[in-house]
């Protein structure tokens, strides 16, 4: 079973994450946690001093964290982006596509199931933030967007 999963090179950030409110109100923290309902865009002016953004999923069915992740990545954030909470094996692939590169699920995941999930689909239909070339680009390698 895996309790922590990282797709980053090197060590993961150990600093405890603070809330968005206390993060934007003080200058020394470098790790912050976004709860559902909080606006990820509040962090955008501070991205260059953040080394870890945690996005909390209190329940797997609350998908706001997927948008939060994409928003910080689209703004150029390159630090660690960690999904925490009710993170299930069946969501890892979509989370990777939205820019998450580490996972700290409330319940440990089965290694073999994670491996299977990550290798299940060879191709994807959409362009997201993970750099994977979508099927439409492979169909039209000559075009600009491809």
């Amino acid at each position: 079973m895996v309790e922590f999963l990282s797709f980053r090179d090197g060590e993961s950030t150990q600093e405890p994450a603070v809330t968005v409110e206390s993060f934007t109100g003080q200058s020394n923290a470098t790790a912050v946690r976004i709860e559902p309902g909080e606006d990820a865009r509040e962090l955008l002016p501070h991205l260059d001093r953040i080394s870890l953004i945690e996005v909390n999923f209190p329940g797997f069915g609350d998908g706001r964290g997927y948008s939060a992740a994409r928003i910080v990545r689209e703004a150029g954030y390159t630090g660690e982006l960690r999904a925490v909470g009710d993170v299930l094996v069946d969501q890892i692939v979509a989370m990777r596509r939205c820019g998450f590169d580490s996972f700290h699920p409330a319940k440990a995941l089965d290694d073999a199931a994670v491996e299977r999930a990550l290798n299940r689909y060879d191709d994807v239909y959409q362009k997201a933030i993970d750099g994977r070339s979508p099927i439409w680009a492979k169909r039209h390698p000559e075009t600009q967007n491809g």
């Binding site: 997927y66 948008s67 069946d90 692939v93 689909y121």
Partner: protein, 543 residues
């Protein structure tokens, strides 16, 4: 018709194996029902009152003879010998064993079909006009757009755990045959300066709080449609309510913050997202469009129809619609026999319609949101032969858009959410108005029944709508008048206190009597209602 390439096929095949693995883990007990539920729901598998129900996607309601035949075979092999066509142009099997579900999906995959995202809080199957590609008044065939959206929405990484389900319709005619403005997002293709794009409507829907979608953008070009929809969905995903599932659809968000504010937020997001390279190149829509090229119609065909058989002539007048190509016609096949279950077809009937599609309709057929079938390209010279085969199969009811062409949800006979039975009521109403002359006299009258407030039977959009509720343990039926799901979309108004099952049939008869007495020349029921209002009907029902 669209055909899968190796990419599309690989995704569907991988999905079958993923679900086989998940089902196996459930059957061995490695997954609890609570853990399995969200997984099976993403694959259209519901646990209903008596058995599992599997909902198969029929993208934009278009399918080939081979696909239809497979649906019939599955009905015979894994269900009790029939399937149920739904108001979302899909097909449901009501008697499925969990252990069989992976095999059924594997069989579907052999004919380029799946059950992906036919349930769950994700973007559902894209619906469209059943006359797409064959009606003379459309700006362009909407199905290439619908297929582009099918691919974009499949396993979307950001929008698979939305506040609630999300339904998109695409049409391209002024006549709205897909209830476009009762969708979470409706697209209507329009032409501007020689370029085809879409008008975008957002925040429509039925359910507990019915809303007709307002226009949020009057033109979005084909090369930006994906980034624009991503903006619409992102605003909804972030700000749609999640505290109450009955207030979680996008219509509530648009209503609560106001359409102008929703538009403003979408435009702001779009200004950002259009720069991210999310849109497929125009070559991709062109690639898809090539699959929907018109079939090789014969030229020089006669438009004459031999009407010497009166039953045939009656059927032609009611079930056959104008086709854009000379010598051809659109055939509507009623799945509403007087004593039947609306939308149900037996395995044998499904097989026969597959045969007819191959022999007479360039191997193509359609499913309508009114739960009927369509053979889109039949030579007028072949109509009599087609009709004879339909008669022999019990599929030649001539009641399109008449009072017995009833939309009904599965209701309490099948559904775990229902408060009342829809099917027996539909059958009672159909029996009361069975006489062909009487139906013809009343003319176009769209009657829609839902067995609970979730409105799967579109009762808000019925010229006459019926809502089944539970009143202290007894089934009770509320009556609504004046709804429409068409281009003149409107929501029905409740007449007053509800009725028993027999009482509501009597009330409908009083309503149609008032209409017949009050109508002016050329008026449909809906027109008369809109002119004279609720009062005379109310007096007749409760007076």
């Amino acid at each position: 018709m669209y055909r899968y390439d190796s990419y599309d096929q690989a995704i569907v095949d991988a999905r079958v194996e993923e679900f086989r693995d998940q089902t196996q883990r459930r059957l061995t007990g490695a997954l609890t029902e609570d853990q399995f539920k969200p997984l099976r729901l993403m694959n259209g598998l519901y646990l209903q009152l008596h058995a599992y129900m599997l909902r198969v996607a029929i993208p934009y309601g278009t399918l080939s003879g081979k696909q239809m035949r497979k649906l019939g075979e599955i009905a015979g092999k894994y269900d009790k010998g029939y399937g149920h066509f739904t108001t979302r142009q899909n097909l449901q099997y009501n008697w499925i064993k969990l252990a069989d579900a992976p095999d059924i999906l594997a069989e579907l995959a052999t004919v380029e079909m799946h059950a992906i995202q036919t349930s769950g809080n994700c973007i559902r199957n894209i619906s469209s006009d059943q006359y797409a590609g064959v009606s003379a008044d459309e700006v362009a065939d909407p199905r290439p757009w619908a297929e582009l959206l099918r691919q974009w929405s499949s396993f979307h990484p950001e929008f698979t755990y939305l506040p609630r389900k999300f339904k998109i319709a695409v049409i391209a005619s002024d006549d709205d045959r897909a209830a476009m403005r009762l969708h979470d997002i409706g697209l209507k293709l329009v032409e501007r300066d020689g370029v085809v794009g879409a008008e975008v409507y957002a925040g429509g829907g039925m359910g507990r709080t019915p809303m007709v979608a307002p226009l949020i953008r009057d033109f979005i070009a084909e090369d930006e449609i994906i980034s624009y929809l991503e903006a619409c969905l992102r605003v909804y995903n972030r700000y749609g309510r999640r505290d109450n599932k009955y207030k979680a659809r996008i219509k509530i968000l648009v209503h609560e913050i106001g359409v102008e504010e929703y538009k403003r937020q979408v435009e702001e997001e779009f200004a950002h997202m259009r720069e991210l390279g999310l849109n497929p190149p125009v070559e991709e829509l062109a690639r898809i469009r090539a699959f929907f090229a018109a079939p090789a119609y014969e030229s020089g065909l006669s438009d004459d129809i031999d009407r010497s058989n009166p039953a045939f002539a009656l059927w032609v007048d009611r079930q056959v619609a104008a086709h854009k190509a000379p010598g051809y016609a659109i055939v509507n096949i009623s799945l509403k026999p007087i004593d039947g279950i609306p939308g149900d077809a037996s395995a044998e009937q499904i097989g026969l319609v597959a045969d007819l599609a191959e022999a007479y309709s360039f191997d193509e057929l359609r499913v309508t949101h009114a739960q009927n079938l369509v053979l889109p390209h039949v030579k007028k010279a072949d109509l009599y032969a087609v009709w004879q085969k339909l008669v022999a199969a019990g599929l030649a009811e001539a009641n399109l858009d008449l009072i017995t062409d009833i939309i009904a949800c599965p209701g309490l006979d099948y559904c775990a959410l229902a408060n009342a039975r829809s099917i027996p009521l539909a059958q009672k109403i159909a029996a009361r108005f069975a006489a062909a002359e009487r139906q013809a006299e009343i003319g176009e009258l769209k009657l829609k029944i839902s067995g609970c407030i979730n409105a799967c039977g579109h009762h808000h959009a019925g010229h006459i709508g019926i809502l089944g509720v539970d009143r202290r343990g007894v089934e009770n039926f509320q009556l609504l008048l004046g709804g429409s799901g068409a281009e003149d979309a409107s929501l029905g108004q409740i007449t007053g206190p509800g009725f028993s099952e027999d009482g509501v049939v009597d009330a409908i008869e009083k309503v149609t009597d008032i209409y017949l007495a009050e109508r002016e020349s050329g008026e449909r029921f809906l027109d008369t209602y809109r002119r004279i209002g609720m009062k005379p009907f109310k007096e007749a029902i409760y007076g």
